[in-house]
């Protein structure tokens, strides 16, 4: 009797781990899919900001009125940060596929969580700094005597404001990625 009961217990343990592994694998596949979405979002943001170039149709004898992303160092930082995050995500796609195949990997998941958190911080810093500058360009600041340049450079302003959207979507999805990795770690 005891041998039979032990065998039954062993069998029920096997069936219990199969749905757990299935959920882990499902989360890893979702992780890969979300990573591809973030690549598209951040790359789109970098390109949208990097291709800004607006020249106003009037000019004086000495000055040509032109606005590019490189006129503001914050926007340059934004483009660079988005490019770095895109490159990191492309490299981490391989790691994500590895996690799909091997659901029991642990140390690599922790490394992925660390790099995901660090890259999320970099992306958020770039996006929030650019958001502050875009806000200033729209509203100006009377106390600091900073003039809102959006009143002149309309298309430049629209472009820069729109490129922020992709970055912020990327930030939210990064939070989801860290959550999925943590849940997969805890459900080994």
């Amino acid at each position: 009797m005891k041998a039979g009961a032990l065998e039954l217990g062993h069998a029920s343990k096997v069936t219990a781990t199969v749905p757990q592994k299935g959920v882990n694998r499902g989360m890893s596949i979702l992780d890969l899919f979300l990573r591809i979405i973030v690549i598209i979002a951040t790359l789109g943001s970098a390109i949208a900001m990097g291709t800004t170039n607006e020249t106003l149709p009037f000019f004086t004898q000495f000055i040509r009125f032109r606005a590019k992303y490189s006129d503001l160092p914050t926007f340059t930082f934004f483009v660079v940060a988005n490019a770095i995050v895109s490159a990191y995500l492309v490299l981490s796609l391989g790691m994500s596929i590895f996690h799909i195949m091997r659901s029991r990997a642990q140390a690599s998941r922790i490394a992925l969580i660390f790099f995901d958190a660090a890259m999320m911080a970099l992306l958020t810093a770039g996006a929030s700094a650019s958001a502050a500058i875009v806000y200033l360009a729209h509203k100006g600041n009377t106390k600091a005597n900073w003039f809102p340049i959006c009143q002149q450079y309309d298309s430049f302003c629209h472009r820069t404001s729109g490129s922020l959207v992709g970055s912020f979507i990327g930030i939210i999805i990064f939070i989801l990625l860290v959550l999925f990795s943590a849940v997969a770690l805890s459900r080994r």
Partner: protein, 210 residues
């Protein structure tokens, strides 16, 4: 001389029965070894949780310093015209107002997460508190970095100005204000680094939860 009536029956052990018997004999030392390993893992988890609590208190101190340093800026220049008095405080720039509000939220969160951290110390094998801590810490990393990054952009602008947009560098006039504000931004970035380390700690404690 009596022949014993007992007959010996040789029961050949089948493979099935051998498989059924082996765990019975082997479970005792295996269970003891597993118990010892679990105890060691619990000890390591407890150490990680204590370190987590210490780091959380450090992050709380840094975030509180950033919020207070930014919130108490007020500089009035010693000269004034007939109509204007030149003063600068944090609420002149909406980005700094956002910074103070966001750091206040971060400070409140860190205070409220200390009980969860203590629960993780007391119960080294708990999964749900650690998972909650990881997810909320990640959200708070995003909030803190948002506040710190946007204020860093404004501080950079205040230090250097921008010729193409015709924005003057106001730090040349309000030196004390600028120093205070820059210090607050640095403290916020220190908080971000500590928070990232906290997330990695919680993740590495999660992996040893069995």
């Amino acid at each position: 001389m009596e022949k014993s009536e007992s007959t010996k029956i040789d029961v050949v052990e089948t493979n099935k029965e051998r498989k059924g018997k082996a765990p019975l004999l082997g479970t005792a030392p295996v269970v003891a070894a597993a118990g010892a390993v679990e105890h060691a893992k619990g000890g390591a988890n407890r150490g990680i949780a204590i370190f987590d609590l210490i780091l959380r208190i450090a992050a709380f101190a840094s975030a509180l310093g950033a919020a207070v340093a930014m919130g108490t800026t007020e500089e009035t220049l010693p000269f004034f015209t007939q109509f204007f008095q030149f003063e600068a405080s944090y609420d002149d720039l909406p980005t700094f107002t956002f910074f103070v509000a966001a750091m206040a939220i971060v400070v409140a969160y860190l205070v409220l997460s200390v009980p969860f951290s203590i629960v993780c110390i007391v119960r080294p094998h708990a999964v749900v508190p650690r998972l909650l801590l990881i997810i909320f810490d990640t959200v708070i990393i995003a909030l803190t970095t948002g506040a710190a990054g946007s204020s860093a952009a404004i501080v950079y602008l205040a230090h250097n100005g921008n010729q193409d947009a015709n924005w003057l560098a106001i730090c040349q006039q309000f030196g004390d204000f600028c120093q205070r504000v820059s210090g607050a931004v640095v403290a916020a970035f220190v908080t971000v680094v500590i928070l990232i380390f906290l997330v990695v700690l919680s993740a590495s404690a999660l992996r040893r939860h069995r």
